[in-house]
Each structure stands twice: as C-alpha cells, then as structure tokens.
C-alpha cells in the first residue's frame, strides 16, 4: 500500500511542483521576491543614523560631507525622511524634509539657516543627483514595490558564500533616470548586495555595492557602506553609515516643516 502510494504519489507531487514552477513566469517570480523583500522590512517604525559621504572625481580628488538622517516608516505611502547637514561648515544647519511617494513626484522642503526660511523644492527631480554625488534621489529613497516592474533572471553566487536572486526591474516612474536596474538580493535575508543602473539610452551607467550589513532589532538589516561607481564618468561616491538606531519612537511631528528649523 505504502509502496504503491509512493510509486504513484511521488511522481504526481513532483510533476505538480514542476508545473507550478513552470507556471510562475519570471515576471511573477520577480514580483514575489520584491514583495518578500519589502515584507522583511515592514515594522521598523523609524530609524536614525549618521552618514558620511565621500565624493571622488576622475582626477582622484575627494571631498566629504556629513549629515544626520531620520526616517519614519510610511504606512500606505512612502517613507518620510529628514536630513540634517553638518559639514561643509557653510551649509551646517541646513536640513531637508522629504515625503516620498511611489509614482508621484516627492514633496521636498529645504531649510536655509542663512535665510532663516523654508523653501519648497518644486521640481520632478527624483532622477537628479543628491548633493552633487553619484546617488540620485531615487537611489536613496524608499523602495516601494509598485515603483518597478520586475523580471526574475537567475540565481547565482554573490560572494561570502551567499546566494542571490538576480532580478531585473524597470522603473514605473515616468521621469526616472533609468531604463532598467538589475539587482542582486541574497536569498536568505533579502539584503540588496549589488544594483546595476542602466541609463535612458540603455548603457550600464552605475553600479552600487552595499556591504557591512548589520542586523538591528534582531530583524532588520542595514548596510554600513554603500559604494556607487559611475562607469560613464569614472566618478564615484561612498556612503558610510554609523550609529544606526531603529525603533526610537519618532512620530509625524518630527517630520514637518517646523521640525526642519530645529
């Protein structure tokens, strides 16, 4: 009886599994992985961290900026973030508030202490460079699932003995600076290891490598180094994150125009 069951059932189970796998299109699989990745990050509430940004040009000169960053997890909409610039000295005290929205232009305000005024930045500049770096706003903003269309490519080793899902994603945002991105996300913890950015004409433009991942609150992973190399210009930018704190109890009140001036 048992023997018969195995003889009959096993091939049946295998074929159903195979059929299932075959039924899942690369697009569906890509989306499933993106949702999984997104789900892993739900519930961190808020985070604060210090960031040091190092710019390097083709001639090899470097320049650094330091800022403090606060993020409030968005519910139903994108995250809210507030960046406070510490150096260079002449922009110390300048701060920027961003309400990120999936497919709409973000809302952004900048507080200029020298003018003692808050100015709204009125442009569709998600694709524009952040503080003259190789990072665009859209590279740093929260990565909501609906921002892209996905296509699963393959699974492959991606260093440190990790295995990665390789997924192509095409921005849904009309004014995105990219024609596509290819992302490597480790299969176990869904950490973004590497992203390749392709510009509007389809050339490989930049590569972002994130490393030094640490786990917070026993669940959420954050990288300590994000290194962006521009292949077209030879310029690069490295972000170093320190003092990560998650779930510090920040609220909406810490993310409004008045909060900018503090």
């Amino acid at each position: 009886m048992n023997k018969i069951m195995i003889n009959v059932a096993l091939p049946l189970v295998i074929s159903v599994l195979t059929l299932n796998a075959m039924a899942e299109t690369p697009e569906a699989k890509g989306l499933r992985i993106a949702k999984e990745t997104d789900a892993r990050d739900v519930g961190f509430g808020d985070s604060t961290a210090d960031m040091m940004m190092t710019l390097k040009n083709r001639a090899g000169q470097t320049s650094t900026r330091k800022l403090h960053s606060k993020v409030l997890e968005g519910k139903g909409d994108g995250d809210k973030s507030l960046s406070l610039f510490n150096t260079p000295a002449d922009v110390k005290g300048t701060s920027m508030l961003t309400f990120s929205h999936g497919l709409k232009a973000d809302d952004q305000w900048l507080y200029l202490p020298a003018l003692k005024r808050v100015k709204r930045i009125n442009s569709r500049n998600k694709s524009g460079p952040f503080m003259g770096s190789e990072f665009a706003f859209e590279d740093l903003g929260s990565q909501e699932v609906e921002k892209y269309k996905y296509k699963y490519l393959r699974e492959e080793a991606c260093g440190k003995g990790w295995k990665c899902h390789v997924v192509e994603r095409i921005p849904a945002y009309k004014y995105s600076g990219y024609s596509k991105q290819i992302g490597w996300t480790d299969t176990k913890e869904h950490r973004a290891v590497k992203i390749e950015f392709y510009d509007r004409k389809g050339s490989k433009m930049k590569t972002l490598v994130s490393s030094g991942y640490k786990q917070y609150l026993g669940k959420y992973w954050r990288p300590s180094v994000m290194s962006m190399q521009n292949h077209l210009t030879g310029k690069s930018t490295v972000l170093q994150w320190t003092n990560y704190k998650l779930g510090t109890g920040l609220s909406k009140r810490d993310f409004n125009k008045n909060a900018l001036k503090r």
Binding site: L112, A114, G128, H231
Partner: protein, 770 residues
C-alpha cells in the same frame, strides 16, 4: 661588384620577383594593425604642459567633448510652438547618443523663478504644442535675457538655436573608437529631423564632429589624391620613356613601396592620422625619381644598340650608388621629423623614410627584373633630343651671364630671406579643413549665426574647500567675467557668478534689484545647495564647480581668431588677472590655446632636427664628393631653396603653421639630390676629363640637365597634387614643398654654376690638398 650583382639578379629574375613579392606580402600584412586615430589630441605629445592642464581641467569638471546640433528654422523664428515642440523631441532623442552624459537645450534649460514664497527650478517650457501666445512671449523674453543662453544655445536675433550633447569617453575607452558611433547617431538624428521637421535646417559641429572630420578628410584624400598622383606619374613617365613596360615597372615599384611602408608602420604600431595619410603620395612621388634614373639610362643604352640585359647591367653600374645616396639623404631628411613636437609628423617622417628606402630596394631588384622580363622595343638612334639642345643653350647662357646671375641670385636670396620674418604663425584648427568637408561649412554657419567654436576655459581656484561661495572670491570671479565680456574677441562668458546673482534674485521674489552676488558665504553656499538639490537628471553642477566647491570653471567662447590674437589675448588676460583678481589667478586651457602654441613649439624643435639633418647630409656629401670644400659649397644650393621658398611664401600667403614648420627639414633631403647629381658630374669632368670650370658646367648640364628637369617636375607635380588636399596642413605642406623644389632647380641651374666658376680657385685648391 655592382656589375656582378646586376648580372646575378638578371639571371635569377624570377626568384628575385618571388622574393620581392614575399617580402612585400610579409611587410604589407602589418597594414591589418593600422587604425585611424581620430582625436585632435593626436597632434600633441602626452606630456605637453598645455595638454596636461586641459586634461586636468576636464578631469576636475566634466569633459568638453561635444556634438552641437545647430537648429535653424527656415522662417527664422525659434520661439514658435512648432520649433519649440521639435526641440523637446530632439532633446529627448539626443539623450540616446552613445556615450552622452549631458544634453543642453532650450527645452531642458533649468529656469529658476520665485513662485509665491518658494523657488521653482523647472524646464523653461514643456509641451510646447499647448503654449499660449502670452507664454511664448514670456519664454522668449526669459531666454533672450539669460546670459547663460544667448550666444550659446540661442542666437542674439533668436533665429537659431542649438542642442549641445556632451560626450564622455569612459575611463577604459578611446576617443578614436567611439567617434564613429557618436557621429553615426548624430547623423541619424539629423536625418530624422530633416524628415520629421522639414522646416528646420540642421548643422553638425563640435569637438567630436571635428575629430570625425580628420578621418573624413583623410578618406577624401585617399580616394582623390592617390589616384591623381598615379595618373600624373603615369603621364610623366610615359612621356619620358615612351615605354609601356617602363611605366608598369615604375607603378609596381611605387605601389610596393607604399604597401611596404604602410605595412611596416602597422607592425611598428603607428596610428593613422591626417598628416600620415600624405605619406603614400610622397612615397609614390619619390619612388618615381629612382625609377626614372635607372630606366632612362637603360633606354639610353639600348638606343645606343646594346642588348636589354646588358643595358640594364650598365644602368645599374652607373646609377646604383647615386640612387642609394639620394635615397639615404632623403630618408635622413624625413627621419629628422622625429624632432617634431607633433606625433603625426614624426609618424609621417618615419613612414616616408621607410618608403624611400623600400623604393630604393625595389628599384634595384624588382625594377630591373621586371623591365628586362617585359617586351620592350627601342629604336636605335643617335639623334640628340630637343631637350638636350635646350640644356646646352641654357648652359651657354648661364656661363655668359654668370656675373649678373651671381649678383642677381644673391640679391634675390637676401631679399627673400629678409621677407621670411613677415610670415605670421597661424594655426586655426577649424580651417584645417576646407569647404569640401561638411564639418567646415556647418561650423562656419554656426559661428556666423550663433556662437563660436573657439573657447578658453579657466579653472578659478580659491584654494579652500567651499571657497567659491566666499564673497571676496565671488566678487573677483564676477569682475573677471565682466571684464572678459568687454573684450572684442569674446562672444560668450559662462560663469557661476551669473547663477549666484540669479538665485539671489529668485530668493527675493524675482526683484531685479537683488540681481547681485549674495553677501555672505553661508548664504551663497546654501543657495548653491538648494539649486544643486533641484537639478534634474544629467544636469549637475559638476561641469562648473569641482566636488570640493573649491574652484569653478569659467568658459569663454570666442570668435575664430588668428593664433597671434589668441596669444595676445592670453597675455592680456594674464596681466589683467595679476593686477585685478589675484585671488583666482589661473591660466587658460583649451584646444584653442593648445593649437596656438604648437606652431612655435614645433618650429623650435624642428630647428634642432633640421640642423642635425643638415650636418649629417653635409658629411655624406663631403664623403661622396671626396672633398670638404665642395661639400661646404653644397650647403648653398641645399639651403637657399628653403630660404627663397619661405620668403616667397610671405608674399603669396604669409601664414605659417604646424605643417609648414617641418618643410625645411623634409625638403632638405630631397633638394640635396639635385645637388648631388649636378656636383658629381661637374667634379668628374674637372677631375677625370681635366675640363676647366666652364666646360665642366657645360658637361654637367648636358649629362644631368634633362634628368633634373624631369625628376623635379615629377616631384613638383606630386607635391602639387598634395596641395589639393582637403586637409589644409597637408595642402600647405604640399604647396610649399613644390615651391622649395622649384627653387632648388633654380638654384642648381642659375646659382650653383656661377658660384663654381667664381670659386674655382678655392675649390681646386682643396683638390690639391687631398
């Protein structure tokens, strides 16, 4: 010994033919390594200080390599819904240009204005089709009052606009390789515009188009000049020899010499560039001279009734040594181009030298083998030709008029040499191409109607991080910009000072009275941050400000002016900055500056090259002629032609550039050939036949007179063909070289003989010593 060689050669002529073909095949297969370098930087040494300054500037900011699409609506109006809408489409498509990192046009110009209490940074306009008449007027008003745009992306009369595509060669790429792809896309875009918007005319210019023009001018030359030279050689050789097999053999020797030289160039890693492309014409022309000498003696012997093989043996016996000698001196002349500061001329010299030596080898192997193999009918005759008769009369005339000629030629030489300094240095690189090349006419149109292609960049360095926001620094940047705008050469100044003023005005409700520099560093830095944060894709500030905000690039667009004026401008700016803006003092860097200095630099370096070539050639002459005094005397007919030619040039043209600075060295080795032939015959007559000076002159005229005429005519003809090149460097070089060779003939016929007679005592004094 030579006789021995000639006999063996003619016995084994099939073997000789096979060996020659194998050698040519082996050498020629190197041609597969030849690549065309279409980057204007090919004209400069990698370590040239001005090249380094410009490279460094481009590494600090963004590259200047660009394609400019000049867009001229047929109705002369840019600010219409149709043209503005077309511009949006064109701008969007321009982003697809391979290796493009930035596109600038009216359609994506980031207009800043104050909206309520906020600042808006946005495209100057969008969806032009739906613009109202009022909006059109407003857009035109903004654009034609914006110093960033007028004379740069919009003409003063608003009848022409442009889309500028910045191209960046990736760190692991080469300009030469990407140019064809970029240009192909630009031309597709142009075809698309012509198709879709027939009311728009499109003109393509910019650095990348110029780089491409180098290749196109060379292609034009290859397909026009080389066949023309072949045809000319064919005619001259046929008229002289009236022998089909002679012509065929000559053509093959020339062709094989070119293949060998170009192949060896490929093996030695030389890259092709426009000056190098004149090498085939030069080699072709010079190879003919060798063949003419050997073939004319051969035919002469046959006319005397000698059998063709024996006649060839005799011809080789007589000619091998002089042909070797003249090839050697010619090669030395070309090799001296290695002193040139511009790598393409070094390559040209080396290839030509290899070609000349290959021509020598083939004319003493392939030529005799082939000539005796092919059928040839020569009538036995002892009739003297009309030319020989003319030569005899010329000799008589020179001897009768020797005093007048000596004084006249000396006076002419002095006058011409005195004229040389009136030549002016001029290297206008846009004018390196003549009107047959589209780049030139397109560029001329854009320059005439909208902007300039000449520019000078200044990296104004405050030497402190964030220093560009310092009020004192900004004030000097502004002062410098305003002063530049008053200079007559200047068309446009792109300066960060304007951006600061504009932002300050925007921050104060667009009140014109606030169109001034911010008065504190913090304020300036925060404006800049706000602006920087507001820029869209591809439009960062890095093309104007370095990453440390320590220095800023100021770009001056200029009229297309002469080298002299560029140098004067450079000096004036230098002096002005020294006294007025010491905080930001810097030197200008750009191709305009680089080309302005290359002519003088090359002349200086070529002086050494020419001197060394002259010394070497004189030593060879002294050894060959067996007399120090004759050797020294030969300096006169060797140097006078260049002196006469440059003086003559001052009268007919008066502009000397990069290419002409190599002519003296290059022609030295060629004009010396005439001197060798004339002097060796003269000396033979004096020594062996004991003729007096006047009879020796008659003898020299009668033996080599005709040959000198013919070879000189062939050379003049060959270089005149070069003078029709669409690439002005080659054309000027060809024309001046023809003139030098013509004057060399003049000097050998009219100056050398009277000198020989006059100095006979001194010259034969030397003879007794040895």
């Amino acid at each position: 010994m030579i006789k021995q060689y000639a006999k063996i050669l003619l016995q084994w002529k099939w073997l000789a033919l096979i060996l020659v073909i194998l050698a040519v095949g082996l050498a020629g297969s190197g041609a597969k390594n030849l690549t065309f370098n279409n980057d204007y930087k090919v004209f400069f040494n990698d370590d040239d200080e001005r090249v380094l300054a410009f490279e460094n500037l481009q590494d600090t900011y963004t590259k200047n390599d660009n394609i400019l699409l000049g867009i001229a609506p047929k109705n002369g109006k840019v600010f219409t819904r149709e043209t503005l809408a077309a511009l949006e489409d064109i701008t969007e498509r321009a982003w697809k240009t391979p290796y493009s990192i930035r596109v600038d046009s009216l359609a994506n110009y980031q207009h800043t204005e104050s909206v309520g209490d906020d600042m808006s940074v946005a495209n100057l306009y969008e969806e032009a089709k739906n613009l109202t008449d009022e909006e059109l007027v407003k857009i035109e008003k903004i654009a034609s009052n914006e110093p960033l745009l007028v004379y740069r992306l919009i003409s003063e009369k608003a009848h022409m606009t442009a889309v500028n595509v910045t191209i960046e060669v990736p760190p692991d790429g080469e300009m030469g390789k990407i140019v064809p792809q970029v240009v192909a896309h630009a031309r597709e875009l142009k075809a698309y515009i012509n198709e879709t918007y027939p009311e728009l005319d499109v003109y393509l210019t910019g650095i990348v188009m110029m780089n491409n023009a180098f290749a196109e001018a060379s292609k034009y030359d290859m397909s026009h000049l080389i066949p023309l030279t072949f045809l000319m050689i064919l005619i001259i050789v046929f008229l002289l020899l009236r022998s089909f097999s002679g012509v065929l053999a000559t053509i093959l020797v020339s062709l094989f010499s070119i293949i060998t030289a170009m192949g060896l160039a490929g093996w030695s890693g030389i890259q092709l560039s426009p000056p190098v492309m004149s090498a085939p014409v030069i080699i072709l022309t010079l190879a003919v001279a060798d063949c003419v000498h050997i073939l004319s003696t051969w035919m002469h012997q046959m006319r005397l009734g000698i059998e063709k093989k024996a006649a060839m043996v005799e011809s080789l016996r007589i000619n091998l040594a002089p042909v070797f000698l003249t090839s050697l001196t010619t090669a030395i002349g070309f090799l001296s181009l290695n002193f040139s500061d511009a790598p393409p001329f070094r390559d040209l010299g080396n290839i030509s030298a290899m070609g000349v030596m290959a021509a020598f080898v083939f004319s003493v192997t392939l030529l005799p083998a082939l000539a005796t193999l092919l059928p040839s009918k020569v009538k036995k005759t002892d009739k003297k030709s009309i030319l020989s008769g003319l030569m005899a009369s010329l000799a008589e005339w020179v001897i009768v008029k020797q005093k007048v000629l000596l004084i006249g030629m000396t006076a002419l030489t002095i006058v011409m040499i005195a004229l040389i300094p009136t030549n002016e240095l001029n290297d206008i690189y846009v004018e390196y191409f003549d009107e047959r090349i589209k780049f030139r006419t397109d560029t001329d149109f854009v320059v005439k109607n909208m902007t300039g292609i000449y520019f000078v960049d200044y990296s104004l360095d405050s030497e402190k991080a964030g220093g560009v926001s310092e009020p004192a620094v900004l004030a000097q940047i502004d002062q410098f910009s305003e002063w530049l705008r008053e200079q007559p050469e200047v068309i446009h100044v792109n300066t960060i000072a304007d951006t600061f003023k504009r932002l300050n005005r925007n921050m104060h409700g667009d009140d014109q009275s606030w169109y001034r520099l911010p008065d504190s560093r913090e304020l300036a830095a925060q404006y800049l941050l706000l602006y920087e944060m507001s820029l869209p894709y591809g439009l960062d500030l890095n093309n104007q400000i370095d990453i440390d905000k320590k220095s800023t690039r100021l770009s001056v667009t200029m009229k297309t002016i002469s080298t002299k004026k560029v140098l004067a401008f450079e000096k004036r700016v230098d002096a002005w900055m020294e006294t007025n803006t010491p905080l930001i003092k810097s030197v200008g860097a750009s191709p305009t500056i680089m080309f302005a200095h290359i002519g003088m630099k090359n002349i200086k370096s070529m002086l050494t090259g020419t001197t060394i070539a002259l010394v070497l050639i004189s030593i060879i002459l002294i050894v060959a002629l067996g007399s120090v005094r004759y050797g020294l005397l030969s300096l006169v007919p060797n140097l006078v032609p260049a002196g006469l030619a440059f003086g003559f040039w001052a009268i007919i043209d008066g502009e000397i550039g990069l290419a002409l600075s190599i002519v003296t060295a290059m022609t030295l080795g060629i004009v010396v050939d005439d001197t060798i032939h004339f002097l060796s015959k003269y000396i033979r007559a004096r020594r062996e036949q004991n003729l007096n000076a006047e009879d020796a002159v008659r003898y020299a005229f009668s033996t080599v007179g005709v040959a000198l005429w013919v070879t000189s005519l062939a050379l003049i003809g060959g270089f005149l063909v070069l003078s029709t090149s669409s690439f002005q460097l080659n054309a000027g070089m060809g024309l001046l070289t023809s003139i030098v060779i013509a004057f060399a003939l003049l000097a050998d016929f009219l100056l050398l003989p009277p000198l020989l007679i006059k100095l006979d005592g001194w010259l034969s004094g030397g003879e007794k010593d040895t």
